[in-house]
Structures are given as C-alpha cells and as structure tokens.
Symmetry: none
Subunit: 215 residues, 4 copies
DNA sequence: AATGAATGAGGGTTCATTCAT
DNA sequence: CATGAATGAACCCTCATTCAT
C-alpha cells in the first residue's frame, strides 16, 4: 500500500472483501470487480489504494497475517513440557484459532494453493512471504525434539520430519473439516483429531512393534 | 467423449497435447488454442470431440490415468514380505514410473493443485475421480500392516496413517526434485529418499525412545 | 498480420477503417472500438487478425503504403530533363496522387506526427518504416542535381538541401489545403503552388540579386 | 486563470512543472497527477486554479511564451545591415536563447507536435495562439528583404519564402541536436549550422548556376 | 467430419474530474 | 484556500464457445 492517507474503514472493507474472495476463489478467479462490489467501493478506489491486483493480494496477505499473528499467544508452545503435550496443546490452540478466524485461515490455505498459479512477478514475492509463516511450526518441533534422548541409531532429523508429517497430515484434515462446513464449529468436535495425533506420537516414540518380541 | 465418429489418431494427439499443456500451466492458463496448436488440429475439432474445455480436462485425466494404470505392475506390492521391504520396493517402483512417465505424473500433480481452482461443475467431478488414484497406495499399506502384530494399545489405523503420511511426504519430495529438473533422472539419484523412508519406518516400528529407559 | 486465412473483405474493411480513423485522430485517440464499429466487425476480430493495436497500426501502414506505391508511376521522375521540369512534374504528380488518395495521404501525414507519441515498441519499428517512403524524394533530387554544373564555391549538398526545403515547404502547403477540405479538389486548384515552386527554383538557380550589379 | 485568490508561488510551481512535463511527454501522456507531484501541490489545486487540464495547457503556453518574449532582445534584428548578417545574427541569437531556455523551447516544440493530437476544444485555441510565435521570424525577414534590390522577374514573396524555408529547416536541425542532448551545449557547437545557412543564403542571392554560362 | 473465423463478455488498468472535508 | 479520496467511463486485450462453410 502507498503512503496514502486513506479512509481506514474503506481500506479495511477492501482488505476484508479481498481476503474473503481470494480465499474463496483463488487469485485468478477473483475479479477486482467482485471485490469492489463486496467492499461497497468503486473499482477505481482499489487501484488508487493498492495500485494493482497483485499488490492488493500481497497487502491482503500481510494484513491477514498480521491480524492472526497479533492474536496468537506464543507461550502455548514454549510452555510445553514434553512432546505429546506440546504438540497436542499447540494443535488444539491452532484449531481454536482456525475456528475463531475461519476466513483468515481459508485465505492462507488458498494462498498456498494459489502459489504455483500466480503471475510471475507476484509469485516470487509470495514465495518468500509464505515461508515465514510456515517455518513457525517446524521450528518449535525442532526445539522440543532437541531436548529429548534418542535411541541409538535414530537420527534426530528423521524424528522431526516424522512429527512434522503427522502434524501436517492432521492439520490438513482439520482444514478439510472446516472447509466442508457443517457441524464442526466447536473445539470439542475436533477431539478425535487430537486423540489421533496423540496416538501417533506415541507410536513414533515407542514404536508399534510388541516389546517382548525384541527382548 | 460423445459417440461421434472420430479419428483415433487425432483424439490421441489432442489428449496428449492436453495432458502436456494442462500439466505445464494448469487448467486456467491452458488455452484451447494452444492445445489445438500442439495437437496440430483445429480448435473447433476439440469442441466437436469433447464438447467443452471441462470435458476435455476430465477425458484427459481418464486417459492419462488409464494409461498409467495399464502400465503398472501390481505384483510389486503383493510380493513384499515385510513393511520396510514393501514400502521401499513400492516407492522405488513408483519413482521409476515417474521417471518413465514424467508428463503423466506432472499432469497428476498439477491436477491436484488445480482442484480448488476449477470452475464449479468441473471441480466436483474431479474431486471424486482424483480419490481413486490416491487410495491405491493406502490400500496396499493397509493390507501389509494387517498382517503384522501390534504392541498393546496401538491401533492399526494409526499405524496405517503414519506410514501413509511418511510415504506422502517423501513422494512430495520426489515430485519436487523431478519438477526442478536437472540431474535427477536416474533411479539411483533418489536413493537418499529411499533411505529416509527406511529410517522413518524403523522409528515407526520401534520408536525413537531409548529402550533401557523404559525397563 | 498472421498467416490467418481470413475473410479478405473484412480484413480490407478493417484496414480501411483503421486508416481513416488513425489518419483522423492519431494513434492514441483511435480506439479499437471505433475502428471495429466503422469496419462493421467485432472488436475481437481485430485482435484475432492483427494481435494488437500496435500491429494493426503497422499493418495499416504497410497496406496503405503498398497501395500507394503500386499506384505510383515512377517514370515521372526519371524522364525529367532539367531541374525545374523534374520538380514541377513530380510535384504535380504527387498532388494528383494526393487528390486521388486523400485518406491515404492524411494517414501518412498523421503517421509522421504520431511518431513521437507512439508507445515504445511501436515507435522504433515505425521510425524505420517511415524512412523508406521519405528518402524517395531526396534521392531523386540528388540524382538530378548531380548532373548539373555548379558555380565556383557552391557546394552540391547545399543545393540539394535548398531544393528539398522548398519542396517540403510547398508540400506542407498542399497538405494543409487538402486537410482544410473545401474547394481544393482538382489539380488546377494547385497551380499557384506549382508556380511558386518554379519561381523559387529559378531563384535558387540564378539568385535574386540583379545581374548588372555584380558585373 | 480565474480570478481566484491564489498563491503566486504555487501557481508558478504548477506552471513550471506543467511546462516541463508537457514538454517531455506531450499533452496526452502528461497526467495531472505527475504535474501535481512535481509541483508539490495537490491535484485538486490544479483544477481549482486552472479549471481543467486543457486550460492548464493554454495557460502554460501563455506563461512560457510571455517569459521568453520578455527575455528577447528585439534589437538584434533591427540592427542588422544585410540579409546574411541579419539571418546569421538572428539565428545565433535564437540558438543562444534555446540554450538558455531549453525547457521552454522543448515545450514549444512539443506544442507544435501535439497540435493535431489535442482534444477538439483545445486544438482550435492552440492553433491560433501558436501562429503568433512563428510569425515572429517571418516578419523580420520580410522587412529586411523589402530593402533589397531584386533581379527583374523575381517576386519578393518568393525570396521571403525561400529564406524562411532555409531558416525553418536549419532551426529544425538545431532542435534535433538539442533534443539529442549530449555535447551540443555551447553556442560554438552550432557553428556548422550557421555556416550552412550562410552558404544557402549565398545561393539564394546569386544562384548556383555558373555565371559565364549565361553571358 | 473438420475447419477456423467470428463473437462478446469480462478481465485489469488509467485518469480527468468532482467533492466532502 | 487547499486537499486527495473517490468515481466511472473508457481503454486494450483474452478466450471459451459457436457456426457457416
């Protein structure tokens, strides 16, 4: 956004409309016309404020990210004692965030999917921006794993990778459930997913093979 | 495709061109013009044969899927004795398939990414079709896990899910390497990925926690 | 123009409309909409045939130039015996051409004026093209002057430059008269200009200073 | 300009910015935005003061013309004794003016080129205004020629026209050299043009034909 | 059966001008 | 007096789809 002293309400309306529509239809299928309509603003104003559809997209991303980031309580992660607690706690918290900010997370998800479809000058910029938000999860996992003792022959990076894979898979499930809409609207509805993660972390920690077999 | 008397060679050329171009640029950025040009066929003929861009897309998917499916040797999976062997063998085979049919797999990958961007009537259809090819992997994994003894308290479905998650993650890596082009063109180049899978399966089987700690 | 097997009548209608409108309003103020309307053709067709407004412009120039060039009788120049005859004959012929092809010449004139206003990729191309038609006049003049004896101390290039300046000035007058429309529609109406040229060439040849003064 | 209480400094800044930008990019490609920016003034103020882009253009022309006119020393012409001296002296003086007021002359030149591209109500007005500055040269030439004896059969107006044509052609060369920028920045750099004018005036006065041939 | 010319709706973008503050 | 946010019409261009041939 330029350094334009713009009407904050209209800017907010545009950014919100953009977030909704980009999140719903992706970059290419979201016309500035529709965004202007939903924001109850002339199409020209969007270009006055943001210069181009691409910049509107980036600014929408920044705004959305900032809003979510400000709402996040990062102690959730740092407070955790063991792996299972940390991951389940963080996941539960992330789900609660997704329930509180469904449009924001839908936009994020769509942004990931949009990435390869973006026009060239935009894509590169978004590629760099998107990394920042993603690293977040893996960093925390690394830190926690780092503190744990490992069985001989086990490489730490593989554990990290495994845990990340589990989290990613289950997070995808959450997104699907939310996208499907319907009855999944309270944190309790997602308990099965928390349980599933717990069970899988248990397997990663102790294996699925019977213990006596090995002795 | 309609029951129109059609020239099989032209149909094949169109489908191949569509697969290449859809796979390269995604649905939205693939114009029928380009497809017609690459297929050395008039644009009208595409609509004559396939009715619309959407139907061409679906038919391209079916054709590509069928071609790959026919080329697959399913004994690979059924022959395996234990989990690690099965998965590594299957993965190696899958990689070899990707090397043999790069355009086809690129199209599949792009189809996944395209899914949320497809125009509404198309999207629903594709959503159902795409599941079929994915199930493939999970089915085999299920069968193998089914035969293995589990530690008390471990649910089979969680093991299946874990193994699937690992395979999915590593498969994504393979796709990235292939998409990047360059030197990854022989099966040996992917040995690190095979090793990574093996190490992770080992963790899934025996856990990463030190054994003595638990006794 | 691409190698499109296009309806020659429509192509001709478009080129004629483009010539008229570009010639009337210049490049920037000539909308493809208006051209399409005047050509009784959809706007899309213009882009189908010519690809862009720029290419339409260039093709219009080529077409117009070719049409005029084909109509020209180049013997007019080569047949002339002395300077005055050559120039008056050529000018009279050029005027008759302008009367026969007023829209074409108006387009040429406008093309010259447009040159500095053209968008960058177009400008360079047009700059090269426009030279070809202009050189024509000066070349012939050079050839004729080359054959004539000069007074001591007179440089040939200055004579050429002078004659060219006269021709250019008077040609501009003709264009103005034609642009003004009105009663100047027959070759006889331009006799004063021919006479003016003749008188000026006489001055260039023999000077305006009284002869006896110098002896 | 209207009878609005206006800040003279801002008016001056706007006019100067307009002159620079109109001169650089022509009427159509000069946005009021850019002018406002360069003048460090709000866009609204321009419309407040000048009413419209068109009126700003005319006012810019008037202001620039007035400024140049006031700076001119008209004795230069009246002092001259013979034709060659007068023309060379005047030309040299004109070049020195162009060097002293490059932006102003660039604007004038551009104004000429813009003329046919101006929107209708503006064009007519500018057409009348522009004549005034041009007449300037021709008037002086007339006066000087008036005093000179002519060879029998030579009409005065033709001599005037010839001399004007030479001056116009060479002046155009000067403008080109200046527009090209580079090393032409001192009056001495233009000596070749002065020489060329002198040589051509000599031809106009005494002809290029050898004298003895005629006796 | 096969062509590709033709369409027209919609895309992003620019900019002089207006007007509430 | 001065601002610059806001508008909307017009711009060039793309493309799936239709249809006469």
């Amino acid at each position: 956004m330029k350094n334009i002293v713009s009407d904050p309400q209209k800017v907010a309306r545009i950014l919100r409309a953009a977030m909704n529509i980009f999140g719903e239809s992706g970059y290419a299928d979201s016309s500035t016309n529709r965004i202007a309509q939903e924001a109850e603003v002339s199409k020209g104003l969007i270009f006055h404020y943001f210069g181009s559809k691409s910049e509107l997209y980036i600014d929408t991303y920044h705004d959305t990210y900032t809003r979510i980031y400000a709402a996040m309580d990062r102690r959730i992660w740092t407070d955790a004692e063991d792996l299972v607690k940390m991951v389940t706690q963080a996941t539960r918290y992330k789900i609660s965030l997704q329930l509180a900010y469904p449009a924001e997370f839908r936009f994020f998800l769509q942004a990931y999917r949009d990435l390869p479809h973006l026009p060239e000058p935009l894509r590169e910029k978004m590629q760099q921006e998107l990394k920042q938000v993603n690293v977040l999860g893996e960093e925390i996992i690394s830190e926690t794993i780092e503190k744990m003792p490992l069985r001989a022959g086990v490489e730490r990076k593989n554990v990290i990778f495994l845990v990340s894979a589990v989290v990613a898979s289950e997070t995808a499930k959450v997104a699907d459930l939310l996208a499907a809409g319907g009855k999944y609207q309270r944190i309790e509805d997602f308990q099965p997913i928390i349980d599933s993660i717990r069970a899988q972390l248990d397997i990663i920690e102790h294996g699925f093979a019977p213990k006596d077999v090995e002795s």
